[in-house]
Symmetry: C2
Subunit: 392 residues, 2 copies
């Protein structure tokens, strides 16, 4: 993974941000309720899932984010509060009010998230009782919050980086039901740089497009995807271009971390498409490759069955594809030239496919469009986790 | 599966059709070369894959079928002759010439198919030597041909039915890399009814649209999909409407047989979408559900996580979806009403999901469009087969 030097060895929060998480009885013992809090009001922007069945927190969140100001995020894991009707939306409102009461602010400054099983009523009383006193637990360690929002994640996910005098911190979760569209699973970004809400919204969308929106674990777009950014301004103004560059780098790295931790995954797959007719066609081809079950199992088995790459390119019916100009590489080793499989050394391909990060590069030779997508291999672990997710 | 009474208990060929298959050394011992032969010239039509990297036999087949007349189909398994360049096309031509010489006809009346690994040169000398003398082996049992074209199929696949005085026989293979578009994997249909080639082409397309084109094992569209029909006319004229009805019924049943034998599959999944704005939107929603890894693993685990159905409907961003009018049933048992999960009995859903055939029905309530798609569950067997297909 690139740009590792950009990130702090141990993630920290920007000035004025803290978090707390605890078990309130939604899960047997693990942390299941989390607060991320700014000491002062923060400018805020967010993008949400495009799924037609948005969860109740998404319905409320779209309303809340219109104000452009947040003090805190409250998130629970285990139950997603999706497909729960009017009562679900009322429960999301009660969750915002409970957090607001604990923090001494108003409910319209609280962003609510829920993640977990779809279609199960939110145990709102446990959350209302559980949030009381959480202010006393607030700490400066983002990992505490990252742990509280985990579902099938194998580890908590947080990053931080400096830009000028300011800090940006990313906290995210997500492992399955991931092909975000407009946003990602739950991903929160905190900064003490000063930006107004419209600027933050523009920067967030610019950063999400090449990162979280190019991630796919399983083609399944969650009903709860949320990516929010809070800027409390305590570090003052920061150069916008520098800020955006770091914001994109962090979102991209978090995307790779999420992909590598895809349910059951053993490899991170990065698909680079160049020479497409347009960037949009590059996007379609990159997603087709990263989502192909046969490509994903090829990487899993380190099986040099590279014809599957061509199959996955070729099934993009609406794109301009010319076999005679199509080349492909695996971790820099060329395996296809002009649409024909080269007589490569199987052992070299087997060895490179066994690496933790597998880069599949395809040059289409019909234009200048480019796109990069992120995903993971397909393993028995994915089947195992998802054949009994609800029941476990 | 419906309409079983339509089909003969043991599949037979129409008048004048026979087949033979043998091992010619492509596989260690299993049959790998097959001939389907009509005693007389037959009117013919075919549809092929829309994949941008069509195999050499597809390139040749598109040329051959223009003549509208076939005497025979020659097919090999183990090597697909895809991504093999000009030499691949020349090898396909040699394969047609070898069959023509054996049968005493011209190469433009031979349809060639190859199925197996992509990007490996076709061992054409073994095929040329192997086809010699196959005429002596020709038999009236379609299962012999069905066995010769198998790759990862767990059993040979053939059906036959009567229509008036004529017979229709279907022989097919296919287990993975299946989301046909315009056609299916290898599927051959033989009849002694008399139709001219343009009529056959129209009937074939009408039958393929609601059957093979609604099948998906893994979203991966093969580079070799071929569905051809040969009508040798030995039974004389048959009522066209009656013929089409039986043709559709057989193609639909063969689609279900292929879906149930999807790589690693333990269940046939039939997705029925009604009330879509248009038939096309119904098609998109049905395919989204049948292709969702999380729906497929839900069925595999008999896990009553029905929110995943809504997720898969909701990720059809471009379709008209209204949560408030969306209902869903599993094998007739209602689990969603007006976009909300009902408080159903988990045990009933678990039990019904454990049946071999699982029907997922979704009513969108926004129009009169309908579509039915066919697929299978996602299991560790799929991962196992495809992590080492090339190498095994």
């Amino acid at each position: 993974m690139s740009d590792t030097s950009l990130f702090h060895a141990t993630p920290v929060f920007p000035r004025g941000f803290r978090c707390a998480s605890r078990n309130v009885g939604l899960k047997p013992t693990a942390r299941d309720l989390t607060l991320f809090v700014s000491d002062v009001d923060a400018s805020a922007a967010a993008v949400f899932t495009r799924n037609h069945f948005p969860g109740a927190p998404i319905i409320l969140g779209r309303e809340t984010i219109k104000g452009g100001v947040l003090r805190a995020v409250i998130a629970n894991s285990k139950v997603s509060n999706v497909a729960t009707g009017e009562r679900g939306v009322e429960n999301a409102r009660r969750m915002a009010r409970a957090a607001a009461a604990e923090l001494g602010t108003s409910a319209d400054r609280i962003l609510v998230s829920s993640t977990g099983v779809i279609g199960v009523p939110l145990p709102i009383e446990k959350i209302e009782a559980g949030v009381v006193g959480m202010t006393a637990d607030l700490l400066g360690d983002p990992m505490v919050g990252a742990e509280g929002i985990m579902t099938t994640d194998s580890h908590p996910k947080a990053l931080s980086a400096s830009v000028g005098d300011a800090t940006i911190t990313w906290v995210a979760k997500g492992s399955g039901m991931i092909e975000p569209n407009m946003a990602t699973m739950l991903s929160y970004i905190f900064t003490d740089a000063a930006f107004d809400a419209p600027t933050l919204d523009r920067l967030l969308r610019a950063a999400v497009a090449p990162s979280f929106n190019m991630l796919s674990v399983d083609t399944d777009t969650s009903t709860s995807d949320t990516c929010a950014i809070l800027a409390n301004g305590l570090a003052g103004a920061v150069d916008e271009a520098a800020f955006l560059a770091v914001l994109i780098a962090g979102c991209t790295r978090m995307t790779q971390i999420l992909a590598r931790d895809g349910e059951g995954a053993e490899h991170l797959i990065r698909v680079e498409v160049v020479g497409a007719l347009t960037a949009q066609e590059g996007h379609v081809v990159a997603k087709s490759i990263v989502n192909s079950p046969l490509v994903k199992t090829m990487v899993h088995g380190a099986d040099p069955n590279v014809g599957r790459l061509l199959m996955a390119v070729g099934k993009c019916f609406e794109c301009t594809i010319q076999p005679s100009t199509t080349d492909a590489w695996i971790n820099g080793y060329q395996v296809v030239a002009n649409g024909e499989r080269l007589s490569f050394d199987d052992e070299i391909v087997r060895t490179t496919l066994s690496q933790e990060v597998v880069v599949l590069r395809v040059a289409l030779g019909v234009g200048t469009g480019e796109a990069t997508a992120y995903g993971c291999d397909f393993t028995k672990g994915y089947i195992e986790e998802n054949a009994a997710y609800y029941s476990s």
